[in-house]
Symmetry: C2
Subunit: 248 residues, 2 copies
């Protein structure tokens, strides 16, 4: 079975300064997981050519798909497109199709020099259309270049995803219990050893006001045909230990 993998590059000083809470990685991650594409790594990097070039090259070699967000607007700090051209030794030039789309979108006289910058791309790309604000992203080799504004990125990503080769979606079930993590830890370890084809994660939470807490036990697998047996064993164990459970 082919496993398709992915890496995400979030490009932007504003994430590293803490000014902006990134939500693009999480949006893409969810979509990939349910599409059978395994997200291996997320990296947040500065708006700096050298770092973008190195990261794009390395991700492009390691993963089936690379998604970048940010840095394709009209201003001087938008350097993603030219950096990606450099990463793949391509010319950085006006893309005629992008130019025409943008020219048509803006009222007469409004398609100024800064806006024309959004039509500059590496040679030999395919466009990713933007139904909201016209300015397209692009794909070059296995690298999908998307904008940073979440609403726009999301619409464009969904369109990209439709045409990607996908794997079998990851099977996931989550069991919530009021038992504490340490109470069930050794059982979960044994269960993990018994079912090596799935991955059992244990995510505790606490409510500091009510001083209550519990665990979400997540069972997931890219290869098993059913998680029913694992789920059943975990529920039995919770009952045996006098805990409550629910499937989340």
């Amino acid at each position: 079975m082919t496993i398709f993998t992915a890496g995400i590059l979030i490009i932007g000083d504003e994430i590293l300064s803490g000014r902006t809470q990134d939500t693009n990685a999480n949006f893409i991650a969810k979509q990939l997981t349910s599409s059978g594409i395994k997200l291996e790594e997320i990296k947040v990097i500065k708006d700096q050519t050298k770092i973008i070039v190195e990261s794009v090259r390395s991700f492009s070699q390691k993963y089936s798909y690379v998604f970048t967000t940010g840095g394709i607007g009209p201003t001087h700090d938008d350097i993603t497109s030219e950096s990606i051209a450099a990463a793949f030794d391509k010319e950085y030039e006006i893309n005629r199709e992008a130019f025409n789309i943008l020219e048509k979108y803006y009222p007469d006289g409004e398609f100024n020099k800064s806006r024309q910058r959004m039509a500059k791309m590496p040679a030999d790309v395919h466009l990713i259309y933007n139904p909201l604000t016209a300015a397209p992203g692009f794909v070059l080799n296995n690298v999908y270049v998307l904008p940073g504004v979440p609403k726009i990125m999301e619409v464009m990503f969904i369109n990209v995803l439709k045409n990607l080769k996908k794997g079998k979606p990851k099977k996931i079930t989550t069991i919530n219990t009021n038992l504490y993590e340490s109470k069930i830890a050794s059982f979960l370890k044994d269960t993990q050893e018994k079912y090596k084809e799935c991955s059992i994660g244990s995510y505790p939470y606490f409510n500091f006001l009510s001083k209550t807490g519990g665990v979400n036990i997540s069972v997931s697998s890219w290869t098993m045909s059913s998680l029913d047996d694992v789920e059943k064993e975990i529920i039995e164990m919770i009952k045996l230990n006098g805990g409550n459970y629910s499937i989340v």
Copy 2:
């Protein structure tokens, strides 16, 4: 002037699967920025020993400080501590001080084998105390190992931060305007070229319902003594172009 740098490693399959939206990186990023520590990179990686070892080694060499979150609980998928021991060729063993803290915290008979696992750490660490749920983090060389649960991580991080050597805080001002990004792009480019010691970022936003939008212009510098001149020039430009502005 010494510039202190930092890297963050978010360790956890649940972030990569999209199950959990990470907020720890943003919390740490904000605190670092206002403490004069320059966050250079954030990386989200899987719960897998080899990847943790490589990432910790590389970050530890590149940055003044490394912060990791996640993977130090009592269950089988918590492998951060032993991976960090491996990264620095240290024994992975019971830390007496951590053991005593946890033993005291739990009622008689409740300090079971799984919980004792939380006292296993690399040799030669210093503890990072946990005022909420007892289980400590630790620091080894320049690597600060913190839990993944945000409320706990945040309290522990604030305590860690108090004792770090810091730089001069980054100066930041943000000017909001209703002008579109492409209208001001060429001015911002010139201003950026004039004031090379600051970094001018331009962050557009759109309201798709009201079809209005604008830009937040962020000016920041690690070295300039004042941003007043840059701010004044940008405001003048906004007025000249008939836009509104406010300092955010």
